[in-house]
């Protein structure tokens, strides 16, 4: 273990995250939740939060603990809180899922499970945000770090609304029971969670990570600044749509929430298009001629992001957004966010494993290359299968074919499991030649716990 540059608990976050990803996919194949039951059914909520909190948020938190210090070249501040945060998040999520099962009638108990989740999850995310913001405050923020900071603000908004829902559903806060949360707050919870916390943060991290591993010029670009401003404007509009409309109507002008949502969608689209332009620039101007599998697979995720934007436009144009929102969210969560997550894990896990194992003898002894920890040729097919599965699944949802969806989800699960196995093999140094595996002075990294 070299100094404090390696985040101690990141692998534990990743492991928990992957377990939830696999678990959620197994439930989908079993026909649990949407599309077999409505999108707002408790069974679907169970599934959705396994993916968004269990998989994507834990993945993002684990990655940020490692990469925020790299983004701003400052050590992590308050690293002792990282493990308590994980414990709060995992236990909070367990209560949340149990609470949904209680609503579904699967669990019969009088305990206020959702209310407990409504305390533990905010506590966990507050600890995460506290550590990361405390670290970010020490530096002048570069553009990628500003995206992350905005994402952290968004997770607080998302989790606050989520906690309010949890308390309302548990029968607490009777004073607020008269408000129509489903109409006013739920869209904000979804849009700020997926668009702000997960997407904005992922954009920020990718602005640094992709150029770093493709050796592209990573100076701040004017288009990136437009991505930032239009993205922020879109998020603020979405978060404040209802109050803004109320204010505009107060001045006697006509306005509907659709006006604000339409404007937010337009700004969000501008943001995404320019983000695509920036990424195309990184790929075109890379010094690394041979592109590695993680960067290649990230292209699949970007394609899914573009398709998501086009699908949103098509659904808005045909007035069928309400009907097909499940398919859109599936494509965003599994194509874009999970696709990007898995592709970057495929680089991050071997890279961190390499540093952990070979860092102490670097320059003193011959070491394998980072690329020797994986076998890219073997794994290409899994990423291809993954994205094919997601695209077919989205198509199946759009044409209401739940059985086809389950087959497609099966392909996605198979690919996910294969990638997980490859990550385990990388941690185990399985693909490294016997003679080079453990030179004197190195020790084998643990699978998902920090070195002693």
């Amino acid at each position: 273990m070299m100094g404090t540059a390696l985040s101690r608990w990141t692998m534990s976050y990743f492991t928990a995250a992957l377990a939830f990803l696999v678990g959620a996919q197994v439930l989908m194949i079993a026909g649990y939740g949407f599309p077999a039951v409505p999108a707002e059914a408790p069974e679907t909520l169970t599934l959705v939060h396994m993916v968004t909190i269990g998989w994507l948020s834990l993945l993002m938190c684990g990655a940020l603990f490692q990469f925020v210090p790299v983004l701003i070249a400052q050590p992590l501040r308050g690293g002792r809180l990282v493990l308590p945060a994980l414990i709060c998040l995992l236990s909070g999520l367990a209560f949340l899922l149990a609470g949904f099962l209680q609503l579904a009638g699967t669990i019969d108990t009088d305990l206020p499970l959702l209310a407990v989740a409504g305390m533990l999850l905010p506590a966990g995310f507050l600890l995460v945000v506290g550590v990361l913001v405390g670290t970010l405050l020490r530096a002048n923020l570069t553009l990628p770090a500003r995206f992350v900071a905005a994402g952290l603000a968004c997770v607080l908004v998302t989790v606050t609304l989520g906690a309010l829902f949890a308390l309302l559903l548990s029968g607490f806060l009777p004073a607020l029971a008269g408000l129509d949360f489903r109409t006013h707050a739920l869209p904000v919870h979804i849009a700020v969670g997926l668009g702000g916390w997960l997407t904005f943060t992922a954009i920020g991290v990718s602005y640094r990570l992709l150029p770093m591993f493709m050796l592209s010029p990573d100076g701040e670009r004017a288009s990136s600044r437009v991505v930032w401003w239009s993205g922020i404007a879109a998020l603020v509009l979405i978060a404040l749509a209802s109050p803004i409309v109320a204010m505009v109507e107060g001045t006697g002008l006509m306005a509907t929430p659709d006006t604000a949502t339409g404007l937010a969608a337009t700004l969000g689209l501008v943001s995404l298009i320019l983000y695509g332009v920036d990424l195309a620039f990184f790929y075109r101007h890379r010094k690394r001629r041979v592109i590695e599998l993680n960067s290649r697979a990230a292209q699949g995720a970007l394609l899914a992001l573009i398709l998501s934007a086009l699908l949103l436009l098509a659904l808005l144009a045909t007035g069928t957004l309400g009907q097909h929102v499940g398919a859109l969210l599936y494509l965003v969560a599994f194509g874009w966010l999970s696709g990007l997550g898995l592709s970057q894990l495929y680089k991050i896990v071997p890279f961190l494993t390499w540093l952990e194992c070979y860092g102490p003898v670097m320059g003193k002894k011959p070491t394998p290359r980072v690329q020797d920890l994986v076998v890219e040729r073997r794994d290409r097919v899994w990423f291809a299968l993954y994205f094919l599965g997601v695209l077919s699944g989205t198509g199946a949802l759009l044409v209401n074919q739940p059985d086809v969806f389950r087959v497609a989800a099966g392909a996605t699960l198979l690919a996910t499991l294969a990638i997980v196995v490859e990550l385990v093999l990388a941690r185990r140094l399985y693909n490294v030649e016997d003679g080079k595996r453990l030179p004197d002075g190195t020790s084998r990294p643990r699978l998902f716990l920090p070195s002693p």
């Binding site: 070299m2 404090t4 100076g219 890279f351 320059g363 003193k364």
Partner: protein
């Protein structure tokens, strides 16, 4: 100084397009106190004169035909005091005045390497230095992981960004 020269012929390495620097430094490390190094090369190795001069060796070079050169590096008086005391005095100099860092004996450009290669090459270079010597490396970005490694190995460093956004680090072996 009656002991024989330590012989090192780097011509085969050079003819194959290789880089003999490591072999030379290893040979220097293997010298007995007071022993000189007889080096055979395919050109007059001027850069080495500077590198080994800073380690207390005086070069005598002569052409031996076919464009090949023989250089004998003889340890000077000041070197015989031993490396430890030399390193200690270097340390003191640095503590007293910042400008006392010696000129880098190795210059590396690691900008176009794939991570973590810039760090690996830099540390490989550092391993060939004697205590108190410095190495300069140009890196694609501020090397957070390298700092931690240098710290844990007891080396000192200074760094800053150049106008192109690369990070130039000078490392002084501890």
């Amino acid at each position: 100084m009656t002991q024989p020269h330590y012989e090192l012929d780097v011509r085969p390495i050079l003819r194959e397009g290789g880089e003999p620097f490591l072999a030379v430094m290893q040979a220097v490390d293997a010298l007995a106190p007071g022993q000189s190094l007889r080096l055979l090369a395919t050109f007059k190795p001027i850069p080495l004169f500077h590198v080994l001069g800073s380690r207390g060796f005086e070069p005598t070079a002569r052409e031996i035909g076919n464009g090949d050169w023989e250089v004998i590096f003889t340890p000077t008086e000041s070197q015989s005091g031993g490396e430890a005391s030399q390193a200690e005095s270097a340390n003191n100099r640095v503590d007293k005045a910042d400008e006392a860092w010696p000129e880098p004996v190795i210059e590396l450009n690691n900008c176009d390497l794939d991570p973590p290669e810039p760090m690996v090459r830099t540390l490989e270079g550092v391993e060939t230095l004697s205590p108190g010597q410095t190495l300069a490396a140009l890196l694609p970005r501020e090397p957070l992981f390298l700092f931690k490694e240098l710290e844990s190995r007891g080396h000192l460093w200074r760094g800053s960004f150049d106008p192109e956004g690369h990070y130039r680090i000078v490392i002084r072996r501890g």
